[in-house]
């Protein structure tokens, strides 16, 4: 038990423990959870990429070079063929020939050196959507091309598309979870608090939605989207489709918690004081559910990322040319293509990393907020 400062009196040997609010205690516990902090740092890096995608990506996501179809990854060199050292790394140009299957075989051409430049000029864009500029973190002079992670089937740089792809994959989770969290909180709160017929009906509705096999519903919902939507509209369409399924699960969890909270005395006191129901729900009951809700939400973000990736992978999500880590894997489904050009699998690895990072953070949050675990207790 932590002691109040007064009773400790003149005891220098006792540790002076300040009294901390439950929120501060939880945050402290979270910070001590090593894996959660690792996950958090990874997420920060990914989100920086998301926000400043144009800056970090050497090429625009639809910058095609059809004659560089499936170009293998180029490694920058510091030593050239004759053993000369140069501080600036460079890549060789490449040339290709066709083999008997009409596949391209790429060879490096040491006669053409393209130096890597930092803060190079590339395709124009708007920084943060406002400031027009064309400075990118690095690049090579034209006509050289930098394919640090190889190129896809129409010669687009995989690394650039990965960075641009983070804009979809990393935000889908946050957006979708926020939407379903809000809906889930409201509906779960109402359902749990009022009970009776409302509760019964809402429960049946949630069960109904959760009854329908997930992927089928997603596919069916996707096909309801009218054709000819812009990519942004498709994106929001996908988000809402995912949230449509997601809120039901959250609402059930919230309802369960509200049911037990509503029995507690402080709620009875609020009712006795004459507060209107909605006020009680929003200001008294729901905040108690908030910690669990946050944990549940953070653990469901990976589901959204995976859901969007799965949809895009089978062609029912974000469409080309807008990259998402899911739709970049479409060609990988063809095993012979994959075997010859394994670098197209990179997006899958990034999905893995992002999901794992979110899981770490969610785990840490759960340990920090859970009053039963040691990590969540202070003193």
């Amino acid at each position: 038990m932590s002691q109040q400062a007064e009773t400790v009196a003149a005891e220098p040997s006792n540790g002076q423990t300040e009294s901390l609010s439950p929120l501060r205690l939880s945050l402290r516990a979270l910070r001590r959870h090593r894996m959660a902090m690792h996950g958090f740092r990874i997420l920060v890096v990914l989100y920086v990429f998301t926000i400043f995608a144009d800056f970090f990506a050497p090429y625009h996501y639809d910058d095609q070079r059809r004659d560089h179809s499936y170009h293998p990854p180029l490694r920058p060199h510091f030593y050239d063929d004759e053993g000369n050292f140069s501080f600036r790394p460079f890549v060789y140009g490449s040339s290709y020939t066709f083999n008997e299957y009409y596949q391209r075989i790429y060879k490096q051409d040491p006669s053409k050196k393209y130096y890597l430049r930092f803060f190079a000029r590339g395709h124009k864009y708007r920084l943060l959507g406002l400031i027009p500029t064309d400075v990118r973190l690095f690049g090579v002079d034209t006509p050289g091309r930098l394919y640090l992670l190889g190129a896809d089937h129409v010669g687009r740089d995989v690394l650039s598309r990965l960075i641009y792809g983070s804009r979809v994959s990393m935000t889908v989770g946050l957006l979708g979870t926020s939407v379903s969290l809000i809906i889930g909180l409201l509906i779960g709160g109402i359902s749990g608090y009022y009970g009776g017929t409302i509760d019964l009906l809402i429960q049946r509705l949630c069960e109904l939605i959760m009854l329908i096999p997930g992927l089928y519903l997603l596919m069916i919902l996707y096909s309801t989207l009218p054709p000819g939507l812009s990519s942004v509209q498709v994106y929001f369409g996908v988000v809402f489709i995912l949230a449509f399924i997601g809120w039901a699960g959250l609402a059930r969890v919230i309802r369960g918690m509200v049911l037990s909270i509503a029995k507690q005395d402080f709620v009875t006191a609020a009712v006795a004081a004459g507060l209107p129901s909605w006020r009680i729900i929003v200001r008294h009951v729901l905040p108690s559910t908030l910690s669990y809700a946050i944990v549940a939400a953070s653990l469901s973000i990976p589901a959204y990322i995976l859901g969007e990736s799965a949809l895009s992978l089978i062609g029912m999500g974000i469409q080309d040319p807008v990259p998402s880590w899911g739709n970049m894997l479409q060609k990988a489904v063809n095993i012979s293509e994959l075997a010859q050009h394994p670098w197209i699998l990179w997006p899958g690895f990034f999905i893995f990393v992002a999901v794992m990072a979110f899981n770490f953070v969610g785990d840490g949050l759960r340990d920090a907020f859970d009053p039963g675990s040691v990590a969540g207790q202070q003193a």
């Binding site: 049946r204 069960e207 109904l208 959760m210 009854l211 329908i212 096999p213 997930g214 992927l215 089928y216 519903l217 596919m219 069916i220 919902l221 096909s223 309801t224 009218p226 054709p227 990976p302 995976l306 990736s309 799965a310 992978l313 089978i314 894997l329 990988a332 489904v333 095993i335 012979s336 994959l338 075997a339 394994p342 699998l345 899958g348 690895f349 999905i351 893995f352 999901v355 794992m356 899981n359 770490f360 785990d363």
Partner: protein, 322 residues
């Protein structure tokens, strides 16, 4: 208990009905129908398309179509697939077995390994073996199915060429001996089952471990030790029974996902199962097939839920449904 079950079944039927309306409604929301694609094929005449449309009442209002479908569905007539030109029930039946094999193999393997691993991890909490296991299962849970599938396909099928790239049977299946057939099946099943198991195993093992830890903290475990019981008995007789209870519900849900759980995996590995079938059906707007598969999935989920509740009541004496 019996009345409880009957009540649940009645409610379940109502839910199925509601689900069918929901599903049918959404499906019809999508503009167009199967025959739109045929329009593009110049060999097919307009009159044929129109005739087919009328034959299947695609020109009637939606609710009429729904009622027609429903009246046939409850009599066991699931309709006819436009694409495959066979009765839906037959198609589903064929593919169903494949999906069942896949999922049953995966579930069995998962449970066989996860329970002992979970117990082991709980008993050895905080020791290095527990931490290693914890990290591995964490990664396993975060690994996207499709990524793992593609990775395994690349490694074992592409590079090493040990395993086939997809499908269920090799071309020369029928000429193989019995053991050859079994080996062939196993080789084809290996990657899909491995992917399913990895994901489910990690999660289940963690839950088992968590439950065991919770139970081992309980007072009645100390009581058992105070009676002089060996640690082995304490764990396997007293703790395990209580730790497994919450898993019963999970088993019910896994059962429910027997039909629908592996859809994405089937698509990627070209496994001829129900999921793959229905994916194509949705894409081509093969209505009756879509509804047939949809209802199967919903039905399995309902059965799974009911099964989970019944099992729980049987296993836990504290729960009684009067």
């Amino acid at each position: 208990m019996i009345s409880y079950i009957t009540r649940r079944i009645l409610i379940a039927l109502l839910m199925l009905l509601a689900a069918s309306i929901l599903g049918y409604g959404f499906m019809k929301l999508a503009p167009g129908d199967y025959f739109d694609r045929l329009k593009q094929d110049s060999r097919v005449s307009q009159e044929y398309i129109e005739k087919e449309r009328v034959k299947y009442r695609l020109d009637s209002p939606v609710y009429v179509q729904y009622l027609a479908w429903l009246s046939r569905f409850v009599r066991g007539d699931f309709g006819y697939s436009f694409e495959y030109k066979r009765p839906v029930a037959q198609l589903i039946g064929d593919r169903l077995i494949n999906t069942l094999i896949l999922n049953i193999a995966a579930i069995t393997l998962t449970w066989l390994v996860a329970i002992p691993l979970g117990i082991y991890a709980a008993v050895h909490q905080y020791r290095p073996s527990d931490k290693v296991l914890s990290s591995i299962s964490f990664m396993g849970m975060s690994l996207p199915h499709f990524f793992l599938a593609l990775l395994l396909l690349y490694l074992f099928s592409g590079e090493l060429q040990w395993l086939p790239a997809g499908g269920l049977k090799s071309v020369d299946y029928d000429q193989l001996t019995v053991s050859g057939k079994l080996a062939d099946l196993a080789a084809h099943l290996a990657i899909p089952v491995a992917v399913l198991v990895v994901g489910a195993l990690a999660g289940l093992q963690r839950i088992m471990r968590g439950n065991m830890l919770d139970v081992l903290r309980q007072q009645y475990v100390t009581t058992a030790r105070a009676k002089g019981l060996s640690e082995h008995r304490v764990i396997y007789k007293h703790a395990l029974r209580n730790a497994v209870n919450p898993l019963i519900t999970i088993f019910g849900y896994q059962f429910a996902s027997l039909f629908s759980g592996a859809a994405l995996l089937e698509i990627i590995t070209s496994y001829p199962g129900l999921g793959f079938l229905l994916f194509n059906a949705v894409r081509s707007k093969d209505e009756f097939l879509v509804m047939g598969g949809f209802m199967m999935g919903a039905l399995m989920l309902l059965i799974g839920n009911l099964l989970a509740d019944v099992l729980l009541a049987v296993v836990d004496p504290r729960i009684s449904y009067s």
